[in-house]
Symmetry: C2
Subunit: 397 residues, 2 copies
């Protein structure tokens, strides 16, 4: 279990009554000093109030605290929603004794409902006074909605002769096909780094991780990936990609984001399998990505995964409507090491039986080789189960 300790950061989580139940629903991330910060937000044209506020406050590349609530997304809430986001942030800032514009808020839950500020008035003082370096795992639980497990990751690297820690906390199980970021992901590190480089490295990491997962093809109004750096590790400041240690930190950040992204897919609503869809032999990365994404989002492919049915016909049918150029009679398809299709034709009963064994695993890779070029791409997805429908037919009731 990750303890999520990182120099300069403290966490807390309380039951604020936002869910109307006896559950943790309000969390705080606090840095002892102004942290260098970078973020990527949803590209959905409909953006939640906390996202709009965050975009505004991140412009100067510094924040000190984030308050996160579950249960209500504060999206499609108009001017009242913006005013509520500002008011909630101000309560936290006042209680923490820091400037208002150093506080972000973040929300996840139902769209179209207003926050009840009374919950915040009551809960914020206790939230602030409970700050603790040990409370990261508790925060990870507080921000869960339909998630069944908390998602955390932790890395230790060396930059020069100092230890640098990077920890991450994420949530998300439905409305997941980020165009830009994912539901909510908070990364804390003690590295000393410039805001510009942090933003650049975060974007690269998100592109290879959160932007490559899809649970249901829906992208949210609240997607946020935020990284805060306290600078307390003592390394020489990473102020450009060429700085000693920048490459190590970049790799670590990318690796941590992918770790969290895969935790999100594996905990996809109702999901029982983590499936990597890899397309090789495409003419371009864009085509490889489009092909992999179309397969990953096909309800027929995903229900076949749930049924443990090595139904490659659905995979090739999805490929055929992906808009990608290929010759049907050159396509090979593998389930892990098992080749099921060669040059567009099925390889028969024995291959199917072996592939069925692969499908019984909790995690496997479907490799589609178009033999049409040198580019490749992959998307991480999950199966589509009866429980997905149950969860989403009942979500608000």
């Amino acid at each position: 279990m990750n303890n999520l300790h990182v120099n300069g950061f403290r966490f807390s989580a309380v039951k604020a009554g936002i869910r109307g139940k006896d559950r943790l629903d309000l969390g705080l991330i606090y840095c002892e000093k102004e942290a260098v910060a970078a973020a990527v937000f949803t590209k959905n044209r409909v953006k939640a109030a906390p996202v709009l506020l965050g975009m505004e406050r991140l412009k100067n590349g510094r924040i000190q605290a984030v308050m996160i609530n579950a249960s209500i997304a504060n999206a499609c809430t108009g001017e009242e929603g913006m005013a509520n986001a500002r008011a909630a942030a101000k309560m936290a800032a006042d209680s923490l004794g820091i400037a208002e514009d150093l506080v972000l808020v973040s929300s996840t839950g139902v769209i179209g409902q207003q926050l009840d500020l009374a919950c915040f008035v009551k809960a914020v003082p206790g939230l602030v006074s409970a700050r603790d370096a040990d409370a990261g795992p508790k925060l990870a639980r507080a921000i869960m909605t339909t998630d069944t497990v908390e998602k955390t990751a932790q890395r230790l690297i060396r930059i020069g002769d100092v230890d640098v820690t990077v920890v991450g906390i994420a949530k998300g199980a439905g409305m997941i096909m980020p165009n830009m970021a994912t539901m909510l992901c908070f990364i804390m590190t003690d590295v000393e780094i410039s805001a510009d480089l942090l933003q650049e490295l975060l974007q690269k990491a998100v592109h290879k991780s959160f932007n490559r997962i899809s649970i249901d093809g829906d992208s949210s109004t609240n997607d946020t990936a935020l990284v805060m750096a306290s600078g307390m590790a003592g390394n020489a400041c990473l102020d450009s990609a060429a700085a000693p240690g920048a490459a190590v930190f970049e790799k670590c950040l990318a690796d941590l984001c992918l770790d969290l992204a895969l935790q999100i897919v594996a905990d996809g609503e109702g999901a029982s399998k983590l499936v990597t869809i890899k397309v090789e032999g495409a003419r371009s990365e864009e085509e490889a990505d489009a092909a992999a994404r179309t397969i990953a989002n096909s309800p027929l492919v995903k229900t076949a995964f749930f049924g443990q049915d090595a139904n490659w016909g659905r995979i090739i049918a999805a490929l055929g409507r992906s808009g990608v150029d290929f010759a049907q009679n050159r396509v090979d398809i593998f389930f892990d090491q098992v080749k099921m299709v060669q040059d567009g034709l099925g390889l028969g009963i024995q291959a199917e039986q072996e592939a069925t064994l692969v499908l019984r695993k909790k995690a496997f890779t479907v490799l589609v080789d178009l033999k049409n070029g040198a580019a490749s791409g992959e998307i991480y997805t999950c199966d589509f189960s009866i429980d997905y429908v149950k969860i989403n037919a009942d979500y608000r009731s």
Copy 2:
């Protein structure tokens, strides 16, 4: 109940053992003379053998018979699949005593399996000798796969002083988001018409019907809409769109296609509701269509329909990722006559209660007004149920 009588046409259906069970699985449509014919086929890059053969044989605009099998799609079957399609068509042609290139074959079912020609050798003579003007409804049952009801439609119009009949038979319940046509649809009429005009009118009708339905966003390798005209009604030949009666026939064909398309959606795999997604106030028809299609294909929207949850937040979130230009604070959303969202904000509990009553109906319309232009478009879809997953997790087993 439609009797599907139309001058010049006879039908039959038999149990050929293709399904391996005691079920109707092979059907025949026969015209007493060469019929003028037009068709639209799937735009999926992966095309089944019978589609490729049909595209070839439709070039001269005349056919006389179509033999249709259920259970095996004859898709992704390579040269052997093409040879089987040709051989099956030849058996039917020989038994009927007509030229081989006047016979089409059509298949629906599992992708990647070869047809067993022995079934055809045994069954075709009986299929041919059973031809009967009364057997249209039986044919409609024979071509069903996961369909739960047969889909037929029938219209009588007057052109000049003669009666003209148009009948249609369709199937399809999964892998339905045609880019071009839908699973299988066969339309028979006794109108006298030129092949060019018939093709033109069919394309128009398909664009407004089969191309506007989506059950699961997957489009098939076998989609076919075919119309055959015996010319035996006795009307003056419709040889151009300006010919007297052409407009009446065009309207009838469009209406019949929409009727069949809606029957397909209403019988979508596991579907309990027929939902029309209408987008108004868009800048262009393309944008209206893209917005409606993104909403119609969202698993979160469709599971909310199944749960009878008036969850407009999911609708506006899908809208936000559709790529369509709009201002969030201008959007209105109605469920039938009930306005739930005005200028991007929910209208509260009473509107939600009234909308919930609408969602309990078997069929309703979601209207999204972008107030951003004068164009509109609609897509017909269904809900996403537990049974959809069950059906598709078990389809081959």
